[in-house]
């Protein structure tokens, strides 16, 4: 499974668990408009750390917090390499 499909699946699952209406996931979608709250993102980040073995937010180099879904995916893809 690609990084992007892993992330997409995780967004969908957490949205279901948290009873959130998830907006259609496009690269341009702003995360604040995705329908997820900060707890949902916290859970997604924690689970991605387990499934992908990376936590880009805890990397030694500073990262910019992603704004769009596309930013979010690229951030993980960058650290997955």
């Amino acid at each position: 499974m690609s990084v992007k499909s892993t992330i997409t699946a995780q967004f969908q699952q957490v949205a279901r668990e948290q009873d959130r209406m998830l907006a259609p996931l496009s690269d341009e979608l702003k995360l604040v408009q995705s329908g997820l709250d900060s707890l949902s993102f916290a859970i997604i980040v924690a689970r991605l750390e387990d499934s992908l073995g990376i936590d880009p937010f805890n990397a030694t180099e500073a990262v910019e917090f992603p704004v769009t879904f596309g930013d979010f995916v690229r951030l993980y893809e960058r650290f997955a390499k």
């Binding site: 900060s38 707890l39 993102f41 916290a42 859970i43 980040v45 924690a46 936590d55 805890n58």
Partner: protein, 462 residues
């Protein structure tokens, strides 16, 4: 002040008929009237401050009985006391003698008077003369790892004994999963000696073997932490004992462990008690329900309870006197109340323990008490025990995670569900009864959870 020592106290009703059961030796208490476990060297310890460093529990028990009323001070060192802490304990206790056994670690020991003891008794030449009230010192784990020394007296340690246990029909056979050099175990030690017999646990012994040994000795009263009891229920040997009284203390007793124990021992009174080394025994709850009646707070009985800043505080004749050591912090407030550090919350006329102050997980500014989440997880029939902890998180500071030990097959209803099914059921269960931020983001099924030598779940510092 007590007018008698431990030995005089237990023999005041006549010659003691009980026995002390170690894992390899059984000592009739009456033999102690004429015998010594200290190789005839008791007089060398008179008026001394004595570290009890014997690893073997029965050896330590016999030394305690002999030394009370003779030594100036006895320091009850638990067997897991790290050798590197011995010099500090020696200094804080002003110790000038020690009792060791053949397995004691003596590399860090700088004490000239060393008496080697063992469970084999020898006849004593002269009778034992009491000359003073001995100070009893217990160790508790400090936040920095070095133990703190808590000063008690025979009077403070026995202040809770006047009630239930001793009023019951004698003789009783007490036992405990605790080591008797910890407060919870010491209470059972004193109760057992006064009420009949005592079966000591042993760290080298499997839980099932201990239960069968206690059962063979006819145990009537037995105590341990909820973690001890979960392990006993998992051992498959819970039916090895048929006690009339089952006691939990030292950790929060949630409803599921109370119900599990009542189901395992339908004829027993299942009681949970609140006590701490510093605060002493506060109360015992016998109605089978978690928490304690709010009416206990604010009264003016022998044990006074108050809740200050959501934290339980206690004042009684059973509280410790002070911490020992240079620059030690005060143990009691000026008005005599001891702050337990245990948080409580009142709901519908009952107080519930919410965990330790400072043990709180902060999820995006919202508090989560690990024990509150564990209590929900533990209601699932396939769960034996669980540990909830914080996991660092870049979004909310922390998220809640849980590790769960499955109650395999011992529930008697087939095989446990696959891990992914169980974790989904647990998540659903948490979601139904907890706020979203309290629901574990991840649940892992693990084979075991670490239980400390004091019988409590090891909670890693968040």
């Amino acid at each position: 002040m007590p007018s008698e020592s431990l030995w005089e106290s237990i023999s005041s009703a006549g010659s003691p008929g009980g026995r002390l059961h170690g894992v390899r030796h059984v000592i009739p208490l009456a033999e102690l009237a004429q015998a010594t476990s200290l190789g005839g060297r008791l007089e060398e310890l008179r008026e001394k401050s004595v570290l009890l460093l014997a690893k073997d529990q029965l050896t330590a028990a016999l030394a305690l009985i002999e030394l009370d009323g003779v030594a100036r001070r006895m320091v009850l060192c638990p067997p897991d006391l790290a050798p590197e802490h011995v010099p500090k304990v020696t200094q804080d206790a002003d110790a000038d003698a020690c009792v060791i056994d053949e397995t004691s670690e003596t590399s860090e020991l700088r004490i000239p008077v060393r008496v080697t003891a063992g469970p084999a008794l020898t006849r004593r030449g002269s009778s034992r003369q009491r000359s003073r009230d001995t100070e009893w010192v217990l160790l508790t784990s400090g936040t920095t790892g070095a133990p703190k020394l808590v000063l008690h007296t025979f009077a403070s340690l026995t202040s809770a004994l006047t009630g239930t246990a001793c009023a019951a029909a004698l003789p009783l056979v007490w036992s405990t999963f605790y080591d008797i050099r910890r407060y919870g175990g010491l209470q059972v030690f004193l109760r057992g000696l006064h009420a009949g017999s005592l079966v000591l646990s042993d760290p080298s012994e499997a839980v099932s073997d201990f239960l069968f040994r206690a059962g063979a000795a006819g145990v009537t009263h037995i105590s341990g932490t909820p973690s001890h009891w979960r392990r006993a229920l998992m051992s498959g040997a819970a039916a090895g004992i048929a006690p009339g009284y089952v006691r939990l203390s030292g950790e929060i007793a949630d409803q599921s462990i109370l119900d599990s124990l009542q189901a395992a021992y339908p004829a027993a009174t299942v009681a949970h008690a609140f006590a701490s080394t510093e605060a002493g025994v506060a109360f015992e709850v016998r109605d089978g329900q978690a928490g304690f009646p709010a009416a206990l707070v604010g009264g003016s009985g022998a044990v006074e309870l108050r809740v200050s800043e959501e934290t339980l505080q206690i004042r009684s004749a059973g509280t410790a006197l002070r911490y020992l050591g240079h620059g030690a912090e005060p143990l009691r407030a000026e008005d005599g109340f001891v702050d337990t550090g245990d948080r409580v919350e009142e709901r519908a006329g009952r107080y519930y323990f919410m965990g330790r102050r400072g043990g709180v997980i902060n999820v995006g500014g919202l508090k989560v008490h690990p024990e509150e989440v564990e209590a929900v997880i533990n209601t699932h029939p396939w769960v034996r025990m669980s540990l909830v902890r914080a996991r660092r998180n870049p979004i909310t500071g922390a998220v809640v995670t849980a590790e769960v030990v499955v109650n395999d097959a011992s529930a008697g209803c087939g095989k446990p569900p696959p891990d992914e099914v169980l974790t989904r059921e647990l998540t659903d269960r948490c979601r139904r009864s907890l706020a979203p931020h309290k629901v574990p983001a991840m649940i892992r099924i693990v084979p075991v959870l670490e239980v400390s030598p004091s019988g409590k779940l090891v909670r890693p510092l968040a």
